[in-house]
Amino acid sequence: MNFAWTAEEAAFRQRLKDFLAATLPDDWERFSQHGPASPALTEYARAFCGKLAEDGLLTPHWPVEIGGQGLDPWHQTILAEEMWVAGEPRGGQYMNVNWVGPTLIKYGSPAQQQRYLPAITGGTALWCQGFSEPGSGSDLASLRTRAERVGEDYHVNGQKIWTSYAGLADTCFLLCRTGEDRKKGISILLVPMDTPGITVRAIPSLIGEGDIHEVFFDDVRVPATALFGDEGQAWEIIAFSLVNERLGIPRYRLARAARDRAVAVLKAQGGWSGEAVRIEAAHAAALCEAARTASYAIVTKRAQGEAVGPESSSARFATVMAERRVAEFVVEYLPEALADAHPYLKMHHQRGIVAGIAAGAAEIQLNIIANDVLKLPREPR
C-alpha cells in the first residue's frame, strides 16, 4: 500500500492549481456561490472549459484517439478533486468528462460519437440527465415517460423532475419506456433540448440557483438515430454510468477544505480554545479522511483495470457522513457563514445536502451495501 502521491501525480496536481490560480477571477469565491447550474456559472464554464481544453486538462483521462491523453484514474481523481474544491468552475460540464463522455465512448454509435464528443472535448457542451420522474425517484425502474416508435421517429411523452442543468442544457440523456418489462423495457434517447414540445420549468431550491427543474415532453419527435445503445439496454448502460457518477464528485475534498477553512476562521476570531470545538472538528476530520481513503480504494481497483462493484456505494455513503458532519460543525460553531460572512463555507453548505440525495439516494446505497457487500437476504417486495 502506498498512500503517497508519485512525483508525477503531485506535479499534475500542481499544474491544475497553477491553472486555477491563473484563470479564476479575483472574486471567484463569491461568484461561485451562484452554483454550478446557474446561468452565470454556466456561461463562465464555457470559457473556463475552453481554456482547460486548450491546456489539455479537460479530458486528460480519456483515450488518446478521442481527444484525451490516456491518463489513469488517479489523474481523473486529482482533476476532479482540484475542480470541486475550487467550487467547480466547470459547472455542469463536470458530468461530461465524468460519465457522459465515457458512456458515449462505450455505447454510442460512430455517428453519435462524431456528433457529441467534439463539443464535450471542446468545453462547450452541457448535458442534463433525464432520469427521475414525479412517481419514479429512487424507484427509477418504475418510470413512465414513453417513447413510441412511429416510422423513423420516436414520439416522446411524459415528465421528468429534479433534473439538474435542464434550463441551459443543449442535450438530454433521456430514459424512457419503450416496452413493458420493468427494466428491459427502458431505453435511452439523446434528445436536443431545443426540440419542439419540450418545456422546462425551474424549481426553486436550497442548493443554488438554476439547479433543479421539471421537464415536460409533449409529443416530442426525435429521429430513431437518437436511440442510444439498443432498445431495452438502458439499465445496463446507466449501471455503467452511475458507477462513474457515484465516485465522480470527490465531495470529501471540499468537505475537508471547508472544515480547514472553518478552523482557520475560528482560530482567528478566538473560537478555538474550547475542547468541544476541537473534538468536533476532529470527528469531522476523521470522517473526511475515511471517505477519502475508501474512495481511493475504489480508484486503486479502477487503475488496475478491475471492475468496480458495490463497494463504491460504501465509499459514497462515507462521503455523505463526512459532508454532514462538516456542515453540522459549521452550523454549530460558525452560523454566520450561512449568512454570507464566509462565502466558501456557504457554498459548501449549499452543495453538501446534495450528497445523500443525488445520483442514488443514501438509502439506496445502504440497500446495495446490504445486498451485495454484506450479502444479506433481500427485502421481500
Partner: protein, 305 residues
C-alpha cells in the same frame, strides 16, 4: 497513490490465514468472556508474524495488516502491541507487551500477568517486567481479554530512548488496526446470525430496520480499516489519532446495535459475538478515549488552542 497490497504483504497474509484456519473453526459455545489459546500465541511467535514490523521491507504497514487479520479470530492474542509498538523498543523486549499510561494506572490492563513486559507511557517511555506482587488478576472482568490490575509501579524501570509521542502514535495505530479486525469479525458474526434466524416468516436481516444499520456499520468499519492502514503506512501522528478516534467512535456506534440485533442470543455467552465486541469495550477508553484522541488529532492537524 496505490492502495493495493504488495506481493510480500499478500504472501504474509496467505501464510497467516493458513496458520489461523484451525483457530477460526474452534468450538465457541460457552467460552466465557475471554478466549485465549497458548498454542496460537506460540504459533504466531514461531512463525515470526509479530516481527514483521522489524523488517524494513515490510514495516509497520504490514504489521497493521497482520494485527487486523488476527483480531478477526475469536481468540484474543497479544499481537497488536508486540507487532506495532515493540519495533520502537527493540527486539530484546519480551512479550506479552502491556501498555499503560502513567497517569491511569487503575485501568484493567490486557494480558498483564507475572512475567509480562509493561510499557509505561508518560513524559518518557519506560518498561519493566511484572512480578507476581505487582499484579492482581481480574478473572471476573467483563472484557474479552484476560485482564489484570497493576497494583504498583516499580521505581526501577528500563528507560527507552523513544519519544513518548512516537510511542503513542504506534499505540494508536495498534489500537485502530486491532479495532478494524474486531469490528469486521463482529459484523460478520451478526450478519450470519440475522441471515439464519427467522422471525415473522423471514430472515431478520431482510428487515430494513436492521439492514440499513448493518450497512452503515460496514461503511464505518471500512473507514476504520483504511484509516488504520493509512496510519500504519505513514506513521503520521495525525493519521494515527484520527484512526484511533474513528475506531473508538465506530465501536460506540455499533456495539450495542450488534447485540441488539441478536435479540436474546445477544445476551448469552453461548454466541461468540462478545469475543469481539467485549474486546472493543476495553479499547474504547485507551489513550483518553474518543475525546483524548480527538484532541490529539486536532493538536496535530491545526496546532494548539
Amino acid at each position: 497513490m496505490d492502495l493495493s497490497l504488495s506481493s510480500d504483504q499478500i504472501a504474509v497474509l496467505d501464510a497467516l490465514d493458513s496458520l489461523a484456519k484451525p483457530y477460526e473453526a474452534a468450538p465457541l459455545h460457552g467460552t466465557g468472556f475471554a478466549l485465549t489459546d497458548p498454542g496460537l500465541d506460540r504459533a504466531l511467535a514461531g512463525g515470526g508474524f509479530l516481527d514483521v514490523g522489524f523488517d524494513p521491507d515490510l514495516g509497520i504497514a504490514t504489521a497493521g495488516l497482520v494485527v487486523e487479520r488476527l483480531a478477526r479470530l475469536p481468540q484474543a492474542s497479544e499481537a497488536a502491541s508486540s507487532a506495532i509498538v515493540r519495533p520502537l523498543l527493540g527486539d530484546g523486549v519480551g512479550s506479552p507487551l502491556c501498555m499503560v499510561e502513567e497517569d491511569k494506572l487503575l485501568r484493567p490492563v490486557r494480558f498483564l500477568r507475572e512475567g509480562a513486559t509493561v510499557v509505561v507511557a508518560g513524559r518518557s517511555v519506560t518498561s519493566f517486567v511484572a512480578t507476581a506482587g505487582q499484579v492482581r488478576a481480574e478473572p471476573e472482568a467483563l472484557f474479552g481479554y484476560p485482564v489484570a490490575t497493576l497494583l504498583s509501579l516499580p521505581e526501577a524501570r528500563t528507560d527507552h530512548a523513544v519519544d513518548a509521542a512516537l510511542l503513542r502514535t504506534h499505540w494508536r495505530i495498534a489500537l485502530a488496526a486491532e479495532s478494524a479486525g474486531l469490528l469486521a469479525a463482529a459484523l460478520a458474526s451478526v450478519c450470519a446470525h440475522t441471515t439464519e434466524r427467522q422471525q415473522f416468516g423471514r430472515p431478520l436481516a431482510s428487515f430494513q430496520g436492521l439492514r440499513h444499520r448493518l450497512a452503515e456499520a460496514q461503511v464505518r468499519t471500512n473507514g476504520v480499516y483504511w484509516l488504520a492502514m493509512k496510519a500504519a503506512a505513514t506513521l503520521d501522528p495525525a493519521d494515527a489519532a484520527l484512526a484511533a478516534l474513528h475506531a473508538q467512535e465506530t465501536a460506540r456506534a455499533v456495539v450495542y446495535d450488534f447485540h441488539q440485533f441478536m435479540g436474546a442470543m445477544g445476551m448469552t455467552l453461548e454466541h461468540p459475538l462478545h469475543l469481539w465486541t467485549y474486546r472493543l469495550k476495553l479499547l474504547a477508553g485507551e489513550l483518553g478515549g474518543r475525546g483524548g484522541n480527538a484532541l490529539a488529532a486536532a493538536e496535530t492537524l491545526w496546532g494548539s488552542a
